[in-house]
């Protein structure tokens, strides 16, 4: 029983990162109707940014967020301008198909570049709090991962506040609901797309920085994170960032439970099973609007 609870706690902590990873993907998909399958590679890039900032400058991964988020958001602006701005000119159905092609190309490119520049080695950082844990009723909670969960939730809260209150945040929400109606209010829809995409990549970069706190990264992690994020987006549905975060926690816990029940190799299966079942039973997702 204790072993199970222990695994569930670790699953919950990982699930927070799934939630953050999915939030960026969900925002971009909800606003631009573009599925960026290179989202996981952007998480990988964010992870490397935090890794090198730590290794070369000794900058703590949590502090590095202040640099990594703007850097990856700027990368997002560049990618939007050079690749995705052409995709959003099509109607919505064509957008998704084209974005898949562009996204896969980008994912392969970023992966290959990372192998060449960073080598295929697994990287991780050793922080002072990295090995620290505290006991919670006989269970062990790693401090770094718990902080990561808190920061992930905080970032989601900030993004939510921005979308709810800020002038351009509201413009982004309006564009997500009905871009033509947004245009008729004088909103520069392309700029709203660009802003949403940059926020999405910034969140991916943040997720990468948090991944390096408790886990390791390599150039190959992108696909895995894209898959997790996709599963969470389907599970949670579009339209609520906190719903997405909860979806991430659910996936993390479900993975841990199935690893305990059926053994480690089955961890990945449960996510895809959830994916399948949600699409069959509730296609709009747990928290989504039909």
């Amino acid at each position: 029983m204790r072993a199970l609870l222990q695994q569930l706690i670790l699953g919950l902590l990982l699930g927070g990162l799934y939630g953050l990873a999915a939030a960026g993907l969900s925002l971009v998909f909800g606003v631009l109707k573009v599925l960026n399958v290179a989202h996981g590679e952007l998480i990988m890039v964010g992870g490397y940014a935090a890794f090198w900032l730590f290794t070369l400058l000794g900058l703590d991964p949590f502090l590095a967020l202040v640099l990594v988020i703007p850097l990856t958001a700027a990368l997002g602006l560049g990618l939007y301008g050079s690749l995705f701005s052409f995709v959003v000119r099509f109607d919505e159905e064509t957008r998704i198909k084209n974005s898949l092609l562009v996204g896969f190309g980008l994912a392969l490119t970023l992966h290959a570049l990372a192998v060449r520049v960073f080598t295929a080695d697994e990287r991780s950082v050793t922080t002072e709090y990295g090995g620290q844990t505290f006991a919670l009723g006989g269970l062990v909670v790693p401090v770094g991962r718990l902080l990561s969960l808190g920061v992930a939730l905080g970032l989601i809260g900030l993004t939510h506040l921005y979308l709810a209150r800020a002038r351009w945040g509201q413009a982004i929400r309006a564009t997500a609901e009905d871009w033509e109606a947004a245009l008729l209010q004088g909103i520069d829809v392309r700029r709203a797309y660009m802003a949403a995409f940059a926020i999405g990549t910034g969140l991916a970069g943040a997720a990468g920085s948090l991944v390096i706190v408790g886990y390791s990264i390599s150039p190959a992690i992108g696909l895995e994170w894209t898959l997790k994020a996709l599963i969470v987006v389907v599970l949670a549905g579009l339209g609520s960032l906190f719903g997405t975060f909860v979806g991430g926690l659910v996936l993390g816990i479900a993975e841990a439970a199935s690893a305990m029940a059926f053994g480690g190799p089955y961890r990945e299966v449960v996510g895809l099973l959830i994916f399948f079942c949600v699409l069959l039973a509730r296609p709009q997702g747990l928290f989504g609007r039909s």
Binding site: R167, Q170, A171, R173, A174, E177, D178, E180, A181, A182, L183, L184, Q185, G186, I187, D188, V189, G239, R289
Partner: protein, 239 residues
């Protein structure tokens, strides 16, 4: 103020507008009537920059709008209430209205405009915290009109504002149009409710198969036997 000259537009192979010319002067109410599929909505969307023109000219205060991106029309004083209202259903009534004041020019007067809209539509003030998607059709149309007014337009284009509304509600929103116009805003009204539109309008155009086939003062167009036969039914001639 608004001048459309020899405008052509098409969806793929399907020709929607074949050489439409018209104008709207400051402070005028102009109605555009015509049957389903005549190209009325296309014409409005073309003026608003949502559908590209194949040929022809749309001019606003003498400026050719072909080179102006669609969202920039709002700061120039052109607002449109699209067909089906197109509210942001997951936002509250007040969020919808405030989004209308997105451009800096409109934002400077936002609170004052908002106050006036709540005076015109007290019902919206009561429901300001409700999601726009939860309102009745008539209330949604009020929000759509209010949202367009929040942009502080000089020209208000309305696409089928009476569609799906009860006759009593239609009557009251048409009274509001007259009020808005008395405030100095020109109105370009596309309507299937020909009688109401022509009664309100100073001038009117009749659009058929993408061409203007008639124009004149609203009352004259309404009296035209052909118009009466085509849009008000065969019995209308006898009256």
């Amino acid at each position: 103020m608004l001048e459309v000259r020899d405008l052509h537009a098409a969806y793929g192979e399907l020709r929607a507008l074949s050489g439409v010319s018209l104008r709207v002067a400051p402070g005028e109410i102009v109605a555009l009537v015509g049957s389903n599929g005549a190209g009325k909505t296309t014409l409005l969307r073309c003026i608003a920059g949502l559908v590209p023109a194949r040929a022809g000219l749309v001019r606003w205060d003498g400026e050719d709008l072909a080179a102006v991106r669609a969202h920039r029309l709002v700061e120039r004083g052109i607002a449109m209430v699209p067909e089906g209202r197109r509210l942001f259903g997951r936002m509250t009534v007040e969020e919808n209205l405030r989004l209308g004041a997105f451009t800096p020019r409109a934002r400077a007067e936002r609170e004052a405009t908002l106050g006036r809209i709540y005076e015109t539509f007290p019902r919206l003030s009561e429901r300001r915290r409700q999601f726009a998607g939860s309102l009745s059709g008539g209330e949604q149309q009020m929000v759509a009109i209010g949202r367009a007014l929040m942009t502080r337009p000089r020209l208000l284009m309305l696409d089928e504002p009476s569609l799906g509304l009860a006759p009593r509600v239609v009557e009251s929103i048409f009274r509001v149009f007259a009020d808005i116009n008395r405030g100095g805003v020109a109105i370009f009204l596309v309507e299937q409710n020909v009688r109401a539109a022509l009664a309100l309008a100073h001038r009117a155009y009749v659009l058929e198969h993408g061409r203007i086939v008639g124009e004149g003062r609203g009352a004259d167009v309404l009296a035209d036997p052909q118009v009466r036969q085509a849009y008000l039914g065969p019995l209308a001639i006898a009256r």
